[in-house]
Amino acid sequence: MVKDKNIFIKTAFIFLPIYIIFLIDDFYNFDDHGVFQIIETRTEYIEQSENINSIIIGGSNALWGISADQLNSLSDNQFYNLSMHSNGVNYKNYFEYILKSVEPIQAQNIDLIIWSTIHTYLDPPYNDFDRDIAGRLRQSKLIPNQSILSKIYKTFTNQESLHFEVSPSSGDFLFRNFKCPLSDKRYLDRDLIDKISNETYQFAPLGPLENQIKTYKIFFKKYFPNSKIVYVVPSIINPPEILPNQLKFLYDNFKEENFSVLIQQPIQDVKYLCESSHHPNAEGRKIRTTEIYEFLKTNRFL
């Protein structure tokens, strides 16, 4: 038995400084996977562009799965993709980002918003208020994003970091340097294919989803008063059957004049996916975007 009564204090004196140094390093050398670069790229382009009148917002499903470029080529509207991973981690981050990207004067000119979120199938809608838009923890939490052991492990195993890029002119996700292990023959991952093929989703609990929808609707009404909004339930593989009460919920929540709902067709095969069940590859994106275009055209949004 250790008799030294001060051993705890001594241990703290040795290990807490190590912890604080690590905390600082962790914050300033945080791996954002290219998110801050995406924000910069988009902001620079939008600042010089006066014609944008339609935006795509949502999470990674929209980033991977909807192409502003394709919609621009099919219509007279000028779309721009402002979707962000995990819907900006929380709605406050995301609203702040959208408002900074589309300054208020431009916001008045936006007449169409495509809002595609996986929240319809998530339990519950994801909002982590401890993190910034790249997923980095607030400094005041005094907790690192990854543990010291994780950092050591990653350093010694040379783990590859994912890096996301977007096209400046459309904000669309660029697949050129990104591996799609579900469909790209060079990187096929059989285990992942099996897993994703069998992955299932549930419809989100209606209460939290309704709260999330309300929050977004207040935001739209305040900052995009002239805009029509199309709520897109994204294409995923193996979507759950949408029950009559869930369908009613969706239509009831978007029954106002300016709102509309599009429930997209399921993704039929993993060959249209990139690396997860709701991230299409370039081919899958084309299919999803075409379906959205048809909907917009049929319902006279364009």
Partner: protein, 427 residues
């Protein structure tokens, strides 16, 4: 009267300040909607309303008793109408701010009303914001007689251990909650086991922190967990798991029903059904309650026969098996899970698919926390002959050496991965 009031009011106000500070730490702001103000005021307002009703009916035994049961089941009624969450491991905070913390303060008020001992000063215990985070149901609230320095020396380790349990072990283990959708028997059992481990470090972690904070403030509240995995049978386990709920259940259900029916076993079933309904109004909790009541009765019978090993075996099997029911409010899926245990494949072919995938895919930070958690549970379970473990008040973790080791492990493992919330709280 005045002394009693000051005795509860002072810790109440200090708790409010700590609660606001915690809110600020968690959200980074004081909140756009001033949620925390409602979280503080609504329990106090409702508790005051219940106190006024109690004053009016205190003399009438039937009315008072009915009122106490009504208070206890208030959370069940709200749960039945979908206004309060059921406990399922995920964040159970109610979305209705006006009934924040109801399950805890209504249980305490029910206890006090039933005992005919509810005083005005108790309102500041029942609605104390720190006690509403995750309990305990403060069935007693007494003075710690020693001075501040000694109190810090004694109670600080509880706060540290609680934080370690909660942040280093349970937060990363929230990863496992996704496994609730698995339906293969081995994967179901694995999930049920890991769920109980997660729940222990989450619930006990917060309870220990609150216990330590109140201790330093000079108030002794019940120790809600007394090393439940040091138990040797389910009866002991439930006495040392969420111990204050057991005290309330005993007062409100066991003693009166025993007196009325003179049948211990029937009283046990009544207690477990009441407990099930407190956790949530869903068929899975009723099944869980009936299952554990049966196991309790069986264990009691076996213990009377003098057998010692069999209750341990039943204990090790019954807790995870019960949790299969406890964790899944999706009834069709739960029935699939239970019927899979009757499948011959389970006993012959052993389909290990999702079991192996679950293990292989688990991130390393989660595995590391799980390992630490299981190590502590192992010490609790196997170390009962050690004098520090045998005390069942976490003495084995409160030694300088243990605290130093935990500090090192904490520095190495702590991260922002995983979710921080009170699995049992704020509903």
């Amino acid at each position: 009267m005045k002394n009693n009031l000051i005795f509860t009011l002072v810790p109440y106000f200090i708790s409010v300040i700590i609660f606001i500070a915690l809110n600020f730490y968690n959200s980074g702001t004081l909140g756009d909607e001033l949620d925390f103000l409602f979280k503080i005021l609504s329990p106090l307002f409702l508790a005051l309303s219940f106190f006024v009703i109690y004053q009016a009916i205190a003399r009438f035994n039937i009315l008072r008793n009915t009122f106490s049961y009504g208070l206890f089941f208030l959370i069940s009624i709200f749960s039945f109408f979908g206004l309060a969450s059921n406990i399922n491991g995920s964040h159970a905070e109610t979305s209705n701010i006006f009934i924040y913390g109801l399950s805890f303060y209504s249980a305490l008020l029910a206890f006090k009303v039933h005992q005919k001992s509810l005083k005005f000063s108790d309102l500041f215990i029942s609605s104390n914001p720190l006690l509403l985070i995750s309990g305990p149901i403060s069935v007693f609230f007494s003075k710690v007689s020693f001075g501040l320095k000694k109190r810090i020396n004694y109670f600080f380790p509880f706060i540290f251990i609680g934080f370690f349990f909660f942040k280093v072990i349970s937060a990363p283990m929230t990863y496992y909650l996704n496994m609730v959708s698995f339906t293969e028997p081995l994967a179901i059992l694995l999930f049920a086991f890991l769920f109980r481990v997660f729940l222990y470090f989450n619930f006990a972690g917060i309870s220990l922190m609150i216990y330590g904070i109140f201790g330093i403030l000079g108030r002794r509240i019940p120790l809600n967990f007394t090393q439940p995995f040091s138990s040797r049978n389910v009866i002991e386990f439930w006495r040392s798991w969420h111990a204050t709920l057991s005290i309330v259940l005993r007062e409100l259900f066991f003693l009166p029903s025993k007196k009325k029916f003179n049948n211990t076993y029937l009283s046990i079933f009544i207690v477990y059904l009441a407990s099930a309904m407190w956790h949530g109004m869903s068929i899975n909790f009723i099944l869980w309650g009936l299952f554990h009541a049966s196991i309790f009765v069986l264990t009691s019978y076996i213990l009377k026969k003098g057998l010692k090993i069999l209750p341990i075996v039943i204990f090790l099997f019954a807790i995870p098996f019960g949790d299969i029911m406890f964790t899944d409010t999706n009834i069709p899926r739960l029935l699939t899970k239970l019927s899979n245990f009757l499948s011959i494949d389970f006993y012959l072919g052993l389909n290990m698919g999702s079991f192996l995938v679950a293990i292989l895919e688990t991130p390393k930070y989660v595995l590391a926390s799980t390992f630490v958690g299981l190590s502590i549970i192992s010490v609790e379970f196997f170390g009962m002959k050690n004098k520090f473990v045998a005390k069942r008040n976490y003495k084995f973790l409160r030694t300088n050496l243990s605290l130093s080791m935990m500090l090192i492990v904490m520095v190495l493992l702590i991260s922002g991965q995983g979710w921080e919330y009170a699995a049992y709280g704020q509903r």
